[in-house]
């Protein structure tokens, strides 16, 4: 190996090494698996786990919201997929929805997830017949309305409304 190749090699080792170290310190993964996921995001090869996502949708349809969210969160640990975040938001909405009053804590978490979904893909429209709200903006508006305290809350007809 000639001297110049060795010198090029040294410079490459140092540049790549520092890039990896800066990336690790900036992204601060909590473990090796998280480090691998974040590297996938950085390299642009990150994707959701389809099997876990499908399982989450099935659990969501069976009204097993906590289990569904668990599957969605495992399918998209980096919170980078708009559809997964949309379903997480919807599961919070359905679980927190009440005929008399809503669970504000669950609605607030749902609102955060809906905002994330809207930021990730503003044009997202979910093709799912079991859902009445199919865009993150519609879901976000529904969650925001649910969190607001208005005179409309005292309307007795509210007892006959349907969960979307």
């Amino acid at each position: 190996m000639s001297d110049s190749i060795i010198h090029y090699f040294t410079i490459a080792i140092v540049a790549i090494g520092f890039a990896v170290i800066v990336f690790l310190y900036a992204s601060a993964p909590k473990g090796l698996s998280e480090a691998v996921t974040r590297s996938q995001v950085a390299l642009g090869v990150y994707s959701v786990d389809k099997e876990l996502f499908d399982r989450g949708v099935a659990q969501f349809r069976a009204d097993e919201f906590a289990a569904g969210r668990n599957s969605f969160e495992r399918a998209d640990p980096e919170k980078r997929d708009a559809a997964t975040q949309f379903y997480i938001a919807y599961s919070y909405y359905r679980e927190g929805w009440g005929r008399v009053s809503n669970d504000d804590a669950l609605f607030a978490k749902g609102l955060q997830a809906a905002k994330r979904a809207a930021e990730l893909n503003p044009d997202l429209a979910i093709n799912d017949e079991s859902l009445k709200l199919t865009t993150p903006f519609a879901l976000r508006a529904e969650l925001e309305n649910g969190l607001k305290m208005t005179i409309d809350d005292l309307n007795p007809l509210k007892l006959f409304r349907e969960r979307k």
Binding site: V14, F18, P29, K30
Partner: protein, 230 residues
């Protein structure tokens, strides 16, 4: 006849003195260019790494400014004491590529040194500044004393060893289980809790010490492998 012998002897002397023709010199150069930066990069990665006390998850702490200052002073000292020769690493006759490669190696040395200080300094509290003072004192004393390179390396090895024992063995013994209430800890071991309150309790898992033990060993190995001139 005599004249011929003298000529042959001269040629042999010239050949043997040329460093590039010595296999051992070439091997040392390759080690310095290929192995040493790799070792120092691993040290740079491990130096700021801690394990959280609660669940042993990774925590990455970038070096504080004081670690960078200590590292810079250490490098100044290393060059001034001729452990590494500046003119031997940056010869004006060398091509730019070689100078860039040498600078890259020295950059990894600087980063590793700052991360070694990052790992050895307690994160906060009175002891942090006490350790900083001790490191400054040691570097200043070594700067004034004219010692051979081997003794300087031994001096740094000892300094790092003492700091490591103080932080990861003595101070780590002050760590108490996080699931026990403060009152219970105080009742069970008031002396330990009182000392921990005054000098600052370690915030990270004791197993962090193993990571830094490896980091210091690799750093010293890298320093040992660095040639004075390249």
């Amino acid at each position: 006849m005599k004249r011929n012998e003298i000529e042959i002897a001269d040629v042999e002397i010239v050949t043997a003195d040329h460093p590039k023709d010595r296999p051992s010199e070439k091997r040392a150069d390759r080690t310095a260019y290929l192995v040493v930066p790799f070792l120092f990069l691993i040290v740079t990665l491990l130096g700021g790494m801690r394990l959280a006390q609660s669940d042993n998850s990774f925590v990455f702490l970038p070096p504080e400014l004081i670690s960078l200052v200590l590292a810079a002073l250490t490098l100044v000292f290393v060059f001034r004491a001729e452990v590494l020769s500046f003119s031997g690493w940056f010869r004006s006759a060398d091509p730019i590529l070689k100078k860039a490669a040498n600078a890259a190696v020295l950059l990894t040395l600087f980063a590793a040194t700052s991360q070694i200080y990052n790992g050895l300094l307690p994160e906060k509290g009175m002891l942090h500044w006490l350790f900083v003072f001790c490191f400054f004192w040691a570097i200043a004393t070594n700067l004034l004393a004219e010692m051979p390179a081997r003794k300087i390396m031994a001096s740094f090895g000892t300094l790092f060893g003492i700091a490591f024992i103080a932080k990861y063995i003595v101070l780590a013994s002050l760590a108490s289980p996080s699931d026990v209430s403060w009152l219970q800890r105080m009742w069970e071991n008031p002396g330990r809790e009182a000392i921990a309150l005054v000098i600052g309790k370690p915030e990270f898992s004791p197993s962090t010490g193993y990571i830094h033990f490896v980091a210091i060993a690799l750093y010293l190995a890298g320093l040992y492998m660095l040639p004075r001139k390249i």
